[in-house]
Symmetry: C2
Subunit: 253 residues, 2 copies
DNA sequence: AGTCATTTGTTCGTATGTATG
DNA sequence: CCATACATACGAACAAATGAC
């Protein structure tokens, strides 16, 4: 059983590229640091060597591997940033130590009436005017996540200006009279990257995004912020620690 | 901008099928309960109507939509199960209420020496013999997740038999002298479904899996179990609640 | 230096799948 | 249903680069 299927609407070379990308991400080739030869891969996937070459060319365009004539195909070392999720989840602070510079950009501000779902999460009446902020999270210049945040527009009218001034949600909220906040809940799912994911997060077709829907509350437990975030799954993993004093080291290499 | 790209190795009809499937999953057509006409879709995606028809035929084969001549294309209702992650995460109990029957099957037992990663997670010496259990989680006959679990083979030699007898990890561990356990950490990522995901979880090509890597510990805090789980992302979302007495309702429809 | 096996790079031709009109 | 254009996949052969001897 090779795992590659024909006539599915997905070209063999792309299926093979996805399979090899997953194997690399899984650390299957870490011992050698390079892939098997084209001939071996062709035999393993039961396809022509041309087809393997097309897959490897795609992975090379993505920057995942590098192939040199006569030498073979080497895996370009890469690491995945781990983003901790817990009661005190914050974007920039969570990445501390893993990256040298984490920033968020405000890429959109608008206002809209609360849908039934959002109203329930924020303990507001449906139709209440909400402030909607769209942000892009970057680490060392590489986009990691984009997010939409909703706030009660009456209470947080000054938030966009504060955000632009401070460049951080935590500090912007502090300027709006919320010195501290806690993460109430996070719901996590995943989906293929959409066209706008691909442009905002600089993703390849076929890439995957991790989706989170979360609610933050102030120190009184009053929900103040609902967020939908979209993470580039090949660059970020999420970590949930239930042990508050003893963080367990990640299982990734 | 349509979001559909040519020459990516993925046929247009499959990209369109994936987009429509994602839109349905996102609830974009819930108000009408049916899709726009083929002509409208062809215009929206900027392709020939033949191509849209091919996409709709694929979705019909998947059982997601039903097309009737003269009437249009209706959406077959479906829902996503939410799987809670927290200190007391358990497969069957977590789905209680959402499904009528949740079971796990043991699909593989083997033994292997601990890799450096696994040894660190379980506080063991690298090379220590580990018991490796592979399981498939189902709800109402639909596969939701497959997982690999590692245990110290010396301490849990009787686990496979106990699992086969009890049909549950919680009860099997109880039979092996672990009356209670807690989830220490969970790391979450996502990736395109591999070929074996597709066969085990009955997924379509282009589907996405949610990946978790977790560690469970006994009541003394000693790590006893490391697990890698793979969830069908179109059927499962993960939920992290940081508020221990007040579970927040999911944001999904 | 040269030789050799190994591995990737290139060029033919041919058949089938995909997309349009 | 047809015809057309392009992408995908295969097979065989040969060229060019690498590393070890």
């Amino acid at each position: 059983m090779t795992g590659i299927e024909r006539q599915t609407g997905v070209a063999l070379w792309r299926q093979i590229a996805d399979e090899i990308r997953a194997a690399i991400g899984n650390g299957d080739h870490d011992d050698a640091g390079r892939l098997p030869t084209e001939a071996v891969l062709a035999a393993r996937f039961d396809v022509n060597r041309h087809t393997v070459r097309q897959a490897l060319a795609a992975l090379a365009r993505e920057g995942i591997v590098e192939t040199v004539q006569g030498r073979g195909t080497a895996i370009v070392p890469r690491r995945r940033v781990t983003y901790p999720i817990g009661p005190r989840t914050r974007f920039s602070a969570g990445l501390g130590g893993q990256v040298t510079q984490a920033v968020t950009h405000l890429i959109g501000v608008s206002q809209e009436p609360a849908s039934a779902d959002l109203a329930a999460l924020l303990h507001l009446q449906a139709g209440t005017p909400l402030l909607k902020l769209e942000t892009l999270g970057e680490a060392d210049g590489v986009p990691l996540s984009r997010a939409v945040h909703w706030f009660d527009a009456r209470r947080f009218a000054g938030l966009p200006d504060a955000y632009r001034l401070e460049g951080s949600m935590t500090r912007a909220l502090a300027a709006c009279g919320v010195p501290d906040y806690v993460r109430l809940s996070t719901e996590i799912s995943a989906a293929p990257a959409t066209a706008s994911d691909r442009t905002d997060l600089a993703l390849q077709p076929g890439a995957v995004v991790l989706l989170t829907r979360s609610v933050n509350a102030d120190s009184e437990g009053q929900p103040i912020q609902a967020s939908h975030s979209r993470f580039a799954a090949d660059r970020v993993s999420l970590s949930v620690a239930n042990d508050r004093d003893k963080p367990v080291p990640g299982c990734d290499k």
